[in-house]
């Protein structure tokens, strides 16, 4: 046997649907509380206490929903592709289920990003929609999610569906750098990235700290939504195993 001491026990135990169901059950309340606290605190801070922008006035405040949603929509796609690849390579059931749970959440978050972008666009640019590089590539991301959902629901065999969507998700991965760098590559109307990990943000800390709180809150919310869908999926997929029967019958 290979020495696996470097890998914590809980990590490879995640591959077991039953264990995964138990651990997500324990983690769920923690993330739910974190999400509520972060989102409420962040929203109040962002919408009430953060200073208004010197150019855009109060209309800039939608940034606190738009930016986290946009980041999350892309992260969700990455997670879906990575989980799909893991499922494809190591035939891990839980990874397939994670990938499947990602698509509807990602599509919804992408809609949120597009909608808040449109609402922001109206006062700033004077129109709801502009055919600029980043908006269009975000729309493509949304279409990719829809394609993946459609393919997944068209194939009846769960394993084949998971593998096929994983291939599609990996192919669609080429779109992610296009979205990320669209603002730098094409000089369009959309403003450049608000956040980078390596540099200090250009805006004052009273403005970006609530944004950071909102981003973390969105991720916590995503974790909650993800775990709920995942648990649902596990129960459904494992409905014939004894532990699920015991769970249902009590």
């Amino acid at each position: 046997m290979a020495d696996k001491k470097w890998m914590p026990r809980w990590f490879y135990q995640l591959a077991s649907p039953r264990w995964c169901y138990d651990i997500t059950g324990k983690l769920l309340p923690i993330f739910a509380i974190a999400a509520v606290v972060m989102l409420v605190a962040g929203a109040v801070w962002a919408l009430v206490f953060a200073p208004a922008d010197y150019q855009q006035g109060n209309s800039f405040r939608i940034i606190y929903i738009h930016v986290p949603a946009s980041i999350l929509a892309q992260s969700c796609y990455m997670l879906m592709a990575v989980a799909g690849a893991i499922g494809l390579i190591w035939k891990m059931k839980v990874a397939d289920m994670v990938a499947k749970s990602c698509a509807p959440i990602g599509a919804t978050i992408a809609i949120l990003s597009l909608a808040t972008g449109a609402i922001w666009g109206k006062p700033t640019w004077g129109s709801w929609w502009v055919w600029d590089a980043r908006l269009t590539s975000m729309l493509i991301l949304f279409f990719l999610y829809l394609g993946i959902i459609a393919l997944n629901s068209a194939i009846e065999n769960a394993q084949t569906a998971a593998q096929s969507t994983a291939v599609l998700a990996l192919v669609g991965l080429v779109n992610i750098p296009i979205i990320k760098y669209s603002v730098d590559w094409w000089n369009t109307l959309h403003q450049p990235a608000t956040f980078t990990l390596t540099e200090r943000p250009a805006m004052p800390s009273e403005m970006w700290v609530p944004l950071l709180v909102m981003v973390i809150g969105f991720y916590c919310f995503f974790a909650v939504a993800m775990m709920l869908r995942l648990r649902n999926e596990i129960i459904q997929r494992e409905r014939r195993s004894s532990w699920v029967r015991d769970l249902i019958t009590g």
Binding site: I140, A154, I155, L168
Partner: protein
């Protein structure tokens, strides 16, 4: 010493077979071309017959028509092979699947993308595309349509096991076609206005190179999944 293993064997074999099969079923060959012409005819009738306006939209119209025509022929790429069991034999054979798949896609392109490219100047004339734009149109289609075939084949491979794959292919593949469409039609616009075209062709070429390297892997994986499922 004679090498028993030749990479070009399966490639040329599959290519010849596919070309011969479609030569014997000529209607499949002509249908995408007729569709291409008809879509382009709909625009002057549906939008405006004004030559100035048509000249403006011609690059986009020709590219969208080419894209839809490619998509239309995509569903049949693996369908008949799947139904008569040939596909299973191909997957089981010891020949590299990469080469077989590449040959099939190349055959598909020679039968749709290439004729479309040759027909495009006619459409350009019908849509009053300025003569300066013709070279850009032909070269961009020449570089772009193989990418369309490669990407479309991924969608075809993913849906070959499904009874109604047609609409689903469009849903899966159209988002991935958008970058090719953007740079292809931008190249034609650039040719009309006399801008340097090197950059557009370089990006189209880069997409084609990436497609040639990566797409057959995805197509092969997708075929294995579809056939086993």
């Amino acid at each position: 010493m004679v090498s028993e293993y030749k990479v070009d064997g399966p490639f040329l074999g599959a290519l010849k077979r596919d070309l011969l099969l479609s030569y014997r079923r000529k209607s499949d060959l002509v249908n995408p071309l007729i569709f291409f012409l008809m879509v382009a005819t709909l625009f002057p009738l549906g939008v405006s017959p004004d030559p100035g306006f048509l000249a403006d939209v011609a690059p986009g119209v020709v590219w969208v028509a080419a894209l839809l025509a490619t998509l239309l022929s995509m569903d049949s790429l693996f369908r008949s092979d799947f139904e008569d069991g040939t596909l299973e034999q191909m997957l089981l054979s010891p020949q590299p699947l990469y080469m077989v798949v590449l040959a099939k896609v190349l055959a598909h392109w020679m039968l749709t993308g290439l004729p479309l490219t040759l027909l495009a100047p006619l459409l350009g004339v019908m849509l009053f595309l300025p003569a300066d734009g013709m070279s850009g149109l032909v070269i961009s289609l020449l570089l772009g349509t193989p990418t369309l075939s490669l990407v479309g084949a991924i969608g075809a491979a993913l849906t070959v096991g499904l009874r109604k794959g047609g609409v689903l292919i469009s849903l899966l593949v159209l988002p991935l076609y958008i970058p090719v469409l953007i740079f292809g039609s931008a190249a034609v616009q650039g040719a009309v206005t006399g801008l340097p075209l090197g950059g557009y062709f370089a990006i189209l070429g880069a997409m084609l190179s990436l497609g040639l390297v990566m797409a057959p892997l995805a197509i092969g994986a997708a075929l294995r999944i579809s056939v086993s499922g």
